[in-house]
């Protein structure tokens, strides 16, 4: 009898999301169709159940933590240009205390006095520390490797400064761990780290770069060819390659390759076209094609993508550098004290000033 039931429109009808005509159609149908009326009753009852949920007041402490963490982010950025390490460290410690208090509120404490070895827990399957199969918890000591297969995952306490998740098919090796530096090698696979320590205490070596933690959440993935993909969720990470440092901010990716060094950072919400083209600009060999791909990067760039363009500026030669600078200036005009010629010659002060301006949109 009924060719067009209206069950797919019931929530929309209930929420007043249908056009007047469609609503009349549903209403008319419901008056004649017991099946749809029953369905309507279920949807209505489900909606009533949900409406019993009450909004809950967020704890005031969140504001204090955000306030402290934002100070830390500012301080960490300034540290890149700022020689006064004592002041920066003081601000960092303030942040660490605030964030540490929060994180420790739902993560159990690590026993002190055994920083040289790290607690490891199997999350799934049986990871291995060396040849030892891990079913519960164990300890990772300097020189030891922790390895997962396709069916296992592990979680590691980074001494008393953070936590690390090791994905399936991954391997890390603990190189050293003391109060000044905690260092591991990510030999393959993927790890995610959360730290609440002052910057530069946790370092991850990969086959193609070294990731230096500036606080506080990021993932690192090493692929079969030794290339690495870094993604920063919160805070900043410095990627070091033969002494050249690239700072990757929250929300950004950066690729590195054993034969090509550190690529250019890019935001995770940048267009796929930009990301694909940037990969060629970073690691492609054909100069003509690199120019074509750079055109795509420049065309696709939004103001926020000046992060990418700023790093490209010092890595490209003319005429590609000028094209990049001009596009950047269209997206975010030069500050008064910065000139086009100064940027083209990579004047350090001007580059820093312009970067400070660009960071407002990053």
């Amino acid at each position: 009898m009924f060719k067009n039931h209206v069950t797919h429109n019931l929530s929309a009808y209930l929420h007043g999301e249908l056009s007047a005509d469609a609503a009349v159609t549903v209403q008319t149908h419901l008056s004649d169709c017991s099946s749809c009326r029953n369905a309507m009753e279920e949807v209505r009852f489900g909606e009533q159940l949900v409406s019993a949920l009450q909004q809950v007041e967020a704890p005031e402490s969140i504001w204090n933590e955000i306030h402290s963490a934002s100070k830390m982010q500012d301080a960490t950025k300034q540290r890149l240009h700022w020689p006064n390490r004592m002041i920066a460290a003081g601000i960092a410690v303030a942040f660490v205390l605030a964030l540490g208090l929060f994180l420790h509120s739902h993560i159990p404490n690590v026993p002190r006095g055994d920083l040289a070895s790290w607690e490891v827990a199997s999350v799934r399957g049986t990871p291995r520390i060396g040849r030892l199969q891990l079913t519960g918890t164990g300890r990772l000591r300097p020189g030891d490797s922790l390895q997962t297969n396709a069916n296992s995952e592990a979680e590691v306490r980074i001494a008393d400064i953070g936590q690390l998740d090791l994905d399936p098919n991954s391997r890390i090796r603990l190189i050293s761990s003391n109060s000044d530096l905690h260092r591991i090698a990510l030999e393959r696979g993927k790890m995610t780290a959360r730290t609440w320590a002052p910057p530069r205490l946790f370092v991850v070596d990969t086959p193609s770069s070294t990731a230096v933690d500036l606080g506080c959440i990021y993932s690192c993935e090493v692929q079969r060819d030794g290339s690495t993909l870094l993604h920063v969720t919160l805070g900043l990470v410095a990627l070091d390659f033969h002494g050249h440092e690239t700072i990757v901010p929250a929300g950004a990716f950066c690729r590195t390759r054993p034969d090509g060094g550190v690529g250019t950072p890019y935001f995770d919400d940048s267009s796929e076209l930009l990301q694909t083209a940037l990969n060629y600009v970073d690691f492609g060999k054909d100069e003509v094609e690199r120019g074509r791909q750079l055109d795509i990067v420049l065309r696709e760039a939004r103001p926020r993508d000046t992060l990418t363009l700023w790093y490209l500026t010092s890595r490209l030669r003319e005429p590609l550098r000028a094209a990049t600078v001009d596009r950047m200036a269209k997206l975010v005009p030069f500050p008064q004290t910065v000139t086009r010629s100064g940027v083209l010659t990579l004047d350090a002060d001007m580059m820093d000033l312009w970067k400070a301006e660009l960071e407002r949109v990053w």
């Binding site: 949807v43 489900g46 019993a52 009450q54 993560i107």
Partner: protein, 200 residues
């Protein structure tokens, strides 16, 4: 934990957003005050009352907001972005939580307190716990659509933008989600399970 009124008022205007973009801390504080309970509540109910998760997500969202608000040109763009971040953060957290719980399974499962008598509170808590548990058992996409509709009163078009799907998909997810809840909680029928009845 304190309850607060669910409101559809939207006191944040473009000037507040602009003030935040200029680095005005009072503007950001206002933004925080307006949205914090909504963000916290979505995360809290998404994670079946897990306060640590709700706390973590709320902190992450506002930190990101603080550092990236300069990108937004209009209020609508801002709110869409905010709730998209909340949805993504909940999904990310869900993936990560499985691992954290292996170290710390002592999750506190608290529920909102009311001013009712102790007996009423117990009954209220049991009902709400049932509803919350049923919601947390929904597939993440159904769950988030329901929470965005209830706590934010977003239109289907707005939810579609936040979740990156079509308006029809939103309608379908809400239909399905509400029907599943009704079936799972059929024992609450006629038991004052409706929104007003539960609270009054």
């Amino acid at each position: 934990m304190q309850l607060c009124t669910v409101t559809s008022d939207f006191p944040i205007d473009d000037r507040t957003i602009e003030a935040c973009q200029r680095g005005d801390s009072e503007g950001f504080r206002l933004l925080f005050e307006v949205y914090k309970d909504r963000v916290y509540s979505i995360a809290l109910y998404y994670f079946n009352g897990d306060e640590a998760s709700a706390h973590d997500i709320t902190q992450q969202i506002f930190l990101k907001l603080l550092t990236h608000i300069s990108q937004f040109e209009s209020r609508s763009e801002f709110s869409t972005w905010l709730y998209r971040m909340v949805a993504n953060a909940c999904l990310d957290r869900k993936r990560a939580l499985r691992r954290f719980l292996s170290f710390d399974g002592s999750r506190v499962d608290k529920i909102p307190e009311t001013r009712k008598s102790i007996e009423d509170k117990v009954i209220q808590r049991e009902r709400e716990a049932s509803i919350r548990s049923a919601i947390s058992g929904l597939r993440p996409k159904l769950r988030m659509a329901i929470l965005l509709k209830h706590f934010e009163e977003l239109s289907y078009d707005e939810i579609a933008v936040v979740l990156g799907c079509s308006k029809g998909t939103v309608a379908s997810r809400l239909n399905r989600g509400h029907q599943i809840l009704a079936q799972k909680l059929a024992h609450l029928r006629g038991d004052g399970a409706g929104g007003g009845t539960l609270e009054e």
